[in-house]
Every structure is written in structure tokens, then in C-alpha cells.
Amino acid sequence: MIKNLKLAFLNIHMNIKNAKELKISFIISILGMILNNISFLILWYYFGKSVGIINGWEPTDIFGLYGISGASYGIIMAFFAGIIQIPTYISSGIFDKYLTSPKSILMKVSTSKVSTSAIGDLIYGIICFTIFAIIQKLSIFKILLSLYLVILSSIIFYSFFLVAMSISFYLMDGENVSSGLTNIFVSNSLYHGGAFTGILRFVFIFIIPSLLLGTIPVEIIKTLSLSKFIIITICTIIWLYFSIKFFYKSLKKYNSNSLFGFGN
């Protein structure tokens, strides 16, 4: 385990160094991502301002939503962006090289790539959360609770991506299905939290866990709801366990494709 972690850190470190070589595009992609995210924030903030409180959601809660989901997405994509490459690795045959690695395959694949723009997401998330914490005057306890929720949210991001990407093992042209699923998962987590009621809320908590990424954590921080706290904790454990099992089960389906430069 320790050896695996060491290897993971080494991998991440090398990848970041690599990205930094292209300094200008490194900075541009971070700033680009921050700007990109700010546009969503402005949109929903303005929305909240003009309509007031909806289903208990105040305009400023949007900072909390984007703070937590931005930070956890940033953490996963900055350091474990390799998982979203799985379909590409499969279709190009690159996956072979991970199978022959003596260390944990999942760890090696996960850390095989960093996404520089995700560092933008992470910075943006931290800024948003800071604003949220100041506006809500969060206590130390609530800040610690938030940190815990960020960790859970990161794990859910990771697990869902892993499942969505592992589907590619079963399909010939899995890239589209995998990216379609992650699109649905991520884009629904960015909506104003007040939008989800009734069946919609149920679906996006228990089936596609978009709301666990930011919406539910913000509600927990605000209301200290014990039931939501238990739900999110249990869901996270189940997702993590299930996703790793599913990955290794799917891995057995892998048959190597020949490497060939398709340009289309």
C-alpha cells in the first residue's frame, strides 16, 4: 500500500513537471478554467438574486455549491485524470502497458495523467468556498465538516468516473457512452440546488449521484442534518467499494487492440 502511494506521488509529480514545461499554456489553461467557471457562478448568482430563496436555497449558497464541487472535481482531475483516459487507452491499445506493470493497475492508470486546467478548478473551488465561509460566518467545526465533505465528494467523483469509464471494456466504441454518462453526472451537479425536488432529488442522489457532489454537502453544512450526513457517508462507501470491484471485473473483458494511428 505504502509502495503504491509512493509510486502514485512520483507519477503525479512527473506529470506536473511535464505540464509545467509548457509554461504559457499551463497558465492559460488554469486561468481559462477559472474564467469558465466564473461564468456559471455569475449566472446562478444573478438567477438567485432575481428570484430570491427557492426551496431553502439563498443566492449566496451557490458559492458553497461551486466551492465544494469545484474543489473536489479539481482534486480528482488534477491528480487522477488518468481514469477518464481509460476508454482512449482501451481503444488505442495503450492499456497493455498498465497491465504489465507490477504495481496496482488502478493506481497506475489513475495517476497516469494530470489535467492542468483542473488546477484552475481547484483554485476556483477554494476561492468560492472561502467567500461562502465568510458570508455564512462558518465556525471551525463547520469548516472541518466541510473538509470531510470535500473528501467524500472527491471519492464520489472518482468512483462514478471509474464506473462510467469501465463500461468501455464492454463496448467497442465506448468513448461516447462514457463521456455521455459523465456529462450527465457533472452537468446536473452544477444546477441551482433549489431545482431538485421529489423524484428528481431521489434520482440524482441514489442513481446518478450528482447531488452528492455539492448540493447535499451545502445543505448539511447549513442545516447540520444528521440524516443527510449518514446518507452521504454510506453512499460514498458503497460507491467506492462497488466501483473498484466493477473496474477489476471489467478488466477481465479487456482484449488488446492493435495500435494504429487513426486520425479521425
Binding site: S91, M172, D173, S258, F260, G261, F262, G263
Partner: protein, 326 residues
Amino acid sequence: MKLIDIKGLTKDYKYIEKDENKGFIYNLFNGKEKIKRAVDNITFSVDEGEAIAFIGPNGAGKSTTIKMLSGIIYPTKGSIKINGLTPIKDREKLSYQIGCVFGQRSQLLPNLPLTESMYMFGAMYNMNKKDIKKRIKELSELFDLNEFINQPVRKLSLGQRMRAEIALSLIHRPKLIFLDEPTIGLDVVAKKKLRDLFIKINKEEKITIFLTSHDTEDIQSICDRCIIINHGKIVIDEPTNRLMKDYVKNKTITITPNSSFIEFPNLLKGMKYISKDKDQIIIEVNTDIINTQEVLQFLTKKLDIDDIIIDNESLESVIRGIYEKI
């Protein structure tokens, strides 16, 4: 009739040399412009119906030349005429007369069956449906495509894919086909199949072939003529069989004894041991210095021989020798 006619073709690449110790902004304004000459004043012509091998070590300027001939990049100097057309000026007209296959890149639409790619390319070359259909039938017979023509291209094996790739590039009945390392990565059986095809399209469809390859078998079996290029210059331009005669200077002789070799005599000038042990002796002979007859006389006199095998050097080692010399 001359199909390709090149005079004084030259290509320079410009690049900016950066000072590693200085920052980005400094280099943006102070970087020194350097010139690298990739192709240096080459002149040759190719007749209609010929099959030419255009070879050289990595970085010799082969791909650059092919790209200039097919109208992808501009030459810095010199003139190119392909069937009377200048590639850069008459790009569209030229495109109807040439086909290109790059072994490491694909022009096929990966998720679609080959027929769809063929229909798309056919329409691009302004052929009508009937004509495309007829051509697909011809090509699938010639290339044995029927077994996989309706499968999505990404499911094909590499050998099948290469055949598909070549069939696609012939859809519009070009006069000339550029093949850039077409057999790369293929197994021996697939390679052989492909080579036979090239010979067939050269002989039956009368398509001129312009081939680059690192595989000497390709060259030997397909091409009548060999142009070797290095550092952007043509170093040899000869028929392939003459190349063998002119440059094959060494023979290897393998001798097995009746019982076993006990002593190893000193050899004549122009002969040297490659290996010697009691079961087998291998000797290399330089035919410039000593002829084969003398060698055989000498060996039969000195050694107790059961069997003797004489091998010519392969084209591969000839070419290796040429690369090393130039």
C-alpha cells in the same frame, strides 16, 4: 513518358533557436533564426509505369520529398512536374491523378465500414454512384476485401486495414501512388500479401509506384529502381538488381567438416574468419580483392570439407553499408 520530373528540388525549414538560460519573453524577441536544409538540390525523373523505391536513413528527407511531390508542402527552390502539373499551383487537378498511403496514419473513417469511406472519397473525387459501385467491386476483387468490407474499420486487423487503406487511395484510379512505409508493423504473411498486391497494381493497373520503406524485402520484390537519399541529397540512383551487383562486395562461405576441424589455416588476403570451431567455419570474402574460384581452390586444398555454402550479402546489409559510408 516522364510522369515525375524534378529539378533542383530544395526544402529549407526555419526554426528559432532559443537560449535555454533566458526566459520566454527574451527568447520571443531575441531567438536566432536558423535554417535546416531537409532536401538539398535533388534532380530525378520517373517514367510512367515504373516502381521506384525512395529510401534513406531516418531524417534523410524522404517524407519531406513525398510531401512536396503530393502538394502538401511548398518547396523552397526547384521545380516539380507531375504529369505536367505543378503540385502547389495545380493542387486540385493533381489530386485526381495521385493517391497517397501513409503507413502510420489513416484516412479511413474508423467507426464506419470501408464501403462508406469509399463512397465518401468517391464523391470527393466527383465520381457518380454507379461508377463508385463498379470501382468498389473491382477493388474488392483485386484486394480480397469481401470478407470484411462491411465491418467497421476499427474492427479490422492491421493487415486488413492496410489493404483497405490502399484500396481507398485507388478509388479514383490515380496514375501514381505514393506509399510511405506501407508495410510497417505487419506480420510476414500480411507483408507478402501486400507486396504481391503492389506488383499487381503496378503491372495490371499500370499504376506508377513511389515507395519509401525501411524493409528491404519491399524494395527488392516491388521496385525496379532504387533511389537512396541521405542528408537531403541523392547518393545512389540505380536499378535494384544493378545495386546488388555493384555494391555486393562480400560473400560469406560456410563450411562443415567430414569429421571435425582440427586446425585453422592462415587465410589469403581478402578472406577473414567470422567464426571458427570444430563443427563449422564461416569465412567472409571480399570479391574486390580475391575471386571466388581462388578461394574455393584454396579451401579444398587446406580443409577436409563435407559441405560448402556460399551466400551473397543481402540487400539489407548492402544498404546498411551504403548508409554507413555516406
